[in-house]
């Protein structure tokens, strides 16, 4: 750029005008922002949000076998699995608790589970009024799964 053009640009504030033109042009284009609660973005398939527990093949109970691997891998120590012996000496998951306030949504529990019991939905809207609301027990996790998969309670699980 020679000196004259430089001086002219200086005097006529060309660079400011160029910037303003760009701003004006952008103003006339449709907005890219979404008015969030009214318009929601489509969620992506693999997004890591609220957890749910799958039902087993019979559809009557949760798929979890109580191996405790998710509890061991969880870097935030958000999961507690309690098992006990059932009437036929089998392992019964008596309690499965997931504290979402501790959870960091890393998805490690999902990756670790050897039977694909614990899974995640893309639901990220987890605001609530009480701490109790985000303390997920086994029943709540299964219910979340039913809600997400659109199945009725007790319906055939897969």
């Amino acid at each position: 750029m020679n000196k004259l053009t430089k001086a002219l640009r200086m005097v006529f504030m060309i660079e400011i005008v160029e910037g303003m033109t760009l701003t004006l042009k952008t103003m006339l284009k449709p907005a890219v922002t979404r008015q969030y609660p009214t318009f929601k973005r489509k969620s992506f398939a693999g997004s890591r949000g609220l957890h749910y527990m799958d039902r087993d093949d019979s559809g009557m109970k949760e798929r979890c076998i109580g191996c405790g691997l998710c509890e061991a891998v969880c870097p935030a120590k958000a999961i507690t699995v309690v098992t006990e012996k059932g009437p036929n000496q089998e392992k019964v998951v008596s309690a499965y608790e997931l504290d979402l306030l501790r959870c960091v949504f890393c998805g490690f529990c999902v990756d670790a589970c050897p039977v694909n019991a614990i899974k995640m939905t893309p639901n990220f809207e987890l605001a609530c009024y009480s701490r109790r609301d985000v303390f997920l027990t086994k029943d709540r996790l299964v219910a979340e799964g039913d809600k997400y998969l659109g199945k009725k309670k007790g319906g055939a699980g897969k």
């Binding site: 760009l22 693999g46 891998v73 998805g107």
Partner: protein, 415 residues
Amino acid sequence: MTDDGYSLTSSIYGEKMSLTNATEKEIVQKEMTINMGPQHPATHGVLRLVVDLQGETVVGIDPRPGYLHRGIEKWMESRTYHQIIPITDRLEYITCMNNNLGWVVAVEKLAGIVVPERAQFIRMLMAELTRLSGHLVWLGTHALDIGAMTVCMYTLRERELILDLTETVTGARQTVSYVRIGGLRNDVPRDFLDKCREFTEIFPKKLEDYDTLIRQNRIWLKRTKGIGKFSAEDAINYGLTGATLRGSGVNYDLRKVEPYAAYDKVEFDVPLGTEGDVYARYIVRINEMRQSVRIIKQCLDMLPEGPIMTADPRYAVPDKATVMTNMEALAHQFVLMSKWVNMPKGEVYVATEAPKGELGFFIVSDGSGRPYRVKIRAPSFVHVGALPKMVTGHMVSDVIACIGTIDIVLGECDR
């Protein structure tokens, strides 16, 4: 007055009392200590600066980091090598992928794990996307601090595209936890490559837009040129890295010097500045974004087929289908996920080029599944140390420009 800013109030009262008799000149000569931060919108988090002012000129500045200290290094000692991956997300929370990568590369070096080609390329692709997003946040906030508000709106608009891409691949926008020791969490979805290519077409045009807005803007030039100067020698002595160092003209980019992932297989230039001031570093980062786009394009073209997890059976996390059918894989999954395998004894330091600079992990292994000690060499922490030299002698409003230009994130600085 103590060197602690808390005595501020008393000093103000002291000055007020003598105001009646003091001439204006005396007031200007009087040194005043003020606190900038930790709750200050322009300190990029919770950085506290104790600034000594003489009139409006900064005569001394004392950074006091530590308000975001979470004891991450100590915390890492009680987690397995695998469980540390999400913790590294919380270091530099704007560019999580690079932290994941830095950690994983260090662990892989410790254990001598060979990572398949495809995984390397996807890692590099994602790391560059994240670098773009990190630089966009930097540009937006830096310009916002200096007073150009529009740029921030535009950069965040483009960053949204990157975050969408990231979410399709990793399942999360920010705290991705995507890279795994020996490979990746999952392969990229089928439509990702097309979307990514589309992005690389759009993005350079947007970069032009940012240039139109500020590159020649006289206010921007006045606020950035000649501010925060660092000579090449000083920059090296202060341990600056990344674009902050390259703005002073030192050609040091770990992607070139010690290539990790697949950086030795792609072509890119290392943009350098000459002046070493805020403006030079701005130009360097803008050009770095261009180079990142170039790397992404090459990645998309060269992306090889193949597995995304290492073939080394000791460290490879078996995939779900194998776990469900194969007893041995199941047993191995249990070992890996609950306590990780025993690592070789030894020490390793591996540094990677994060968007902020050299991010290094020093691991001491005692042979168990958990590190004995981890030290994180965080670029932000080192850069904060350069602030006094950078700012002293400038005006108080230049402090903001200098905080912006060293590109710090306090999550990483305080750890």
